[in-house]
Homo-oligomer: 405 residues x 2
């Protein structure tokens, strides 16, 4: 039995966070039904796309969902979506969306059809204003603290981190509300705003405290880890590596494999610092790096990799996306998370399933993203219990559509 066997979520979403939430639940075994306009949703052609214009982005965020193509500008389309969202059963009645929807998809309107409805909306700002990952990130301060030491140029992130975090929280919110409903019989409307997630994380990571209590505006530290020892180094074979010594064990492993223990003891004495402490290592990071730099510059990755791995040193090689795809043995079917999957319209490529490994549920192979309207007919029949004639009429009237052939 899959982890979330039975749970049904109806999804009407766009952007990254909300579709990611639905996909996360689908990959854990929920039945996620995504509805879209007949011509496809906002993101249906979002980059990256193949040379034929098929969206790799779309395929990535909609794996394992069922697809209903429905014209919600028509009253009959609205009724179908309303009936889906408010379908009976303890495992149904969960709606995942983006907007603070008004009108027929409003929480109060839907609740008249199912009093214990759970509706989770992923917003930009808590007021429902427009904000996306790439506007929130500059506003909360990370680009100012990213990039080469001494530079004043802000560096925006490439990973839509706030989207990814919020997406997982949205999935979490749905399970929390579903647990609450199971206990109390009471449904609820939950909202989570991308910007609030970013603001909360500023606090959770101690950054708000650093400003308020220490009056410190954290500057750029290049590729150095903040608060302990972590640094990038060039190697003799032209590569760049990252070494992190956060814990005592990691630090001692680094010193013993590089043979630097004694020299570092001397350094600590010279600087009047206790380099057994993380913070003191951060304070002395330039001096430590000056000592380790030549060591790495004289060695190739192959020279030190075996001893580093043996001693549990925490390190990695900087790779481009392509180098990672080609060189990391985990980015292959040797990793049970991945399947070589034939995505309709795109072709076969390596696709991830859920990162969770469970002692009771087998890992299920990744499933492709559905083509638009692929499950329209079966959803109307199985979930709404409509007969063949009625379904035919809805198709003929252009209220719903099946996949293009």
């Amino acid at each position: 039995m899959k982890l979330l066997q039975g749970l049904r979520v109806v999804e009407g979403t766009a952007f990254v966070a909300a579709p990611l939430a639905g996909m996360t639940l689908a990959q854990m075994g929920a039945d996620v039904i995504r509805f879209d306009r007949l011509q496809g949703g906002l993101d249906h052609h979002r980059w990256p796309v193949t040379k034929d214009g098929a969206s790799l982005f779309w395929a990535g965020l909609n794996k394992g969902k069922r697809s209903l193509a429905v014209d919600v500008s028509k009253p009959e389309g609205q009724e179908i979506v309303t009936a889906l969202i408010t379908a009976p059963g303890p495992d149904a009645g969960v709606f995942l969306t983006n907007l603070r929807v008004r009108g027929w998809m409003d929480y109060d309107a839907l609740r008249r059809r199912r009093a214990d409805l759970i509706m989770l909306s992923v917003l930009g700002t808590r007021e429902g204003g427009p904000a996306v990952d790439y506007t929130i990130n500059p506003a909360v301060g990370f680009p100012h603290a990213t990039g080469p030491e001494g530079s004043t140029e802000p560096v925006a992130h490439t990973l839509p981190a706030w989207d990814c975090i919020t997406g997982q929280m949205a999935a979490l919110g749905i399970l929390a509300a579903e647990r609450h409903r199971r206990m109390t019989g009471v449904g609820q409307q939950l909202e989570i705003a991308l910007k609030d997630v970013a603001l909360a994380m500023l606090g959770n990571l101690g950054i708000l405290g650093e400003v308020a209590v220490n009056d410190v505006d954290r500057p750029k530290y290049g590729n150095a880890l903040y608060g302990a020892y972590g640094q990038d180094f060039a190697t003799a074979d032209g590569r760049r590596i990252m070494v992190v010594a956060l814990t005592d064990r990691q630090w001692r492993g680094l010193l013993s494999t590089t043979g630097m223990a004694e020299a570092i003891d001397d350094l600590g004495r010279r600087l009047g610092l206790n380099l057994a402490l993380e913070g003191d290592r951060f304070t002395a990071r330039r001096e430590i790096t000056a000592m380790l730099g030549p060591w790495f510059a004289e060695r190739t990755v192959d020279d030190f990799a075996p001893s580093f791995d043996k001693s549990g040193v925490t390190w990695s090689i900087f790779r481009s996306f392509k180098q990672a795809a080609e060189q990391d043995p985990d980015l292959s079917e040797a990793h049970p998370m991945f399947s070589l999957l034939d995505q309709p319209g795109i072709g076969p490529y390596l696709v991830p399933g859920t990162p969770f490994a469970s002692s009771v549920s087998e890992r299920t192979p990744a499933r492709p993203a559905s083509t638009l309207g692929q499950h329209s007919e079966e959803i109307l029949a199985d979930v709404l219990g409509l007969g063949g004639a009625e379904i035919g009429r809805l198709f003929d009237a252009g209220v719903v559509a099946g996949p293009r052939r």
Copy 2:
């Protein structure tokens, strides 16, 4: 009633992801009991710290948990932790940890005491090897795709994004396993590795497809948004802003407020591109930016902010952490997510609660992180049902400790 009222999670964790998971659940209403060595956990002094050495990092990631200080090198300490983890009741029997623990805290050992135990371990790599956010990020490719266009220097991120994402997923995994147990009576061991989360996200965001299907190794695009139009601009008052036009609505809002609609039409014709399409806007981003740049350079933020906000343009100002704390009205008690909270050992500062807004549970104010051992006595009494004499003996024998006075 709080969202996760009743759920009890016992936490023995370090680093970012796993403590964040526990705190997320605590802020949603779960009773999270964190146990630590008598001298405090690995992160008890992690930076940022106040001038007195109190960890703002620690306080940030451990809000709202109860604290038990216990010497697990002693058999009696091990027995206390085992009894806590395996305490009876449908809402208990959930253990959140980091390591693939062996010995007395091993899943199979604990399961002998409670057959339906749920144990979730946050790992570095799936094999249990050492890996942290700052070594995983270089290995999967993001630093190579971050920073100024044309540069070959990798730029590591400052936000521990993989930790933050994995932490939310760990919380999600616990609720999924708890739902599964409620349905089936069966507990389970779940593992989630930071590195697997990063690898899966490479696939989810279409990056693996871009490499495999398109044979494209995404380069650095500076602060430009990939795949649609988004760019940073300097303004006449010396500020830097970010403007994003991902959807049609966002794009039209930007063109109408800047009065560029006609000029952009001409540009599209000249370039033979359809700038109504996201991808074509990305292709023409340099030319678009060349047209918009002078417009922003001649205006202060105050000049365009009202019309931008009125038209729903998606934009923001680049701020440092301190500027954000000082200038963003959401970073104050005007936002119901935040409380000005007196954190013992640190003092009063602005602290976030859960980002979720619920229609049925009131937002509860943020709670401080516990001091080490603050709840040792009450946990032994209330959860384990030990009597006063026995508790006194355990304190006297140094098996457990209360807060330092």
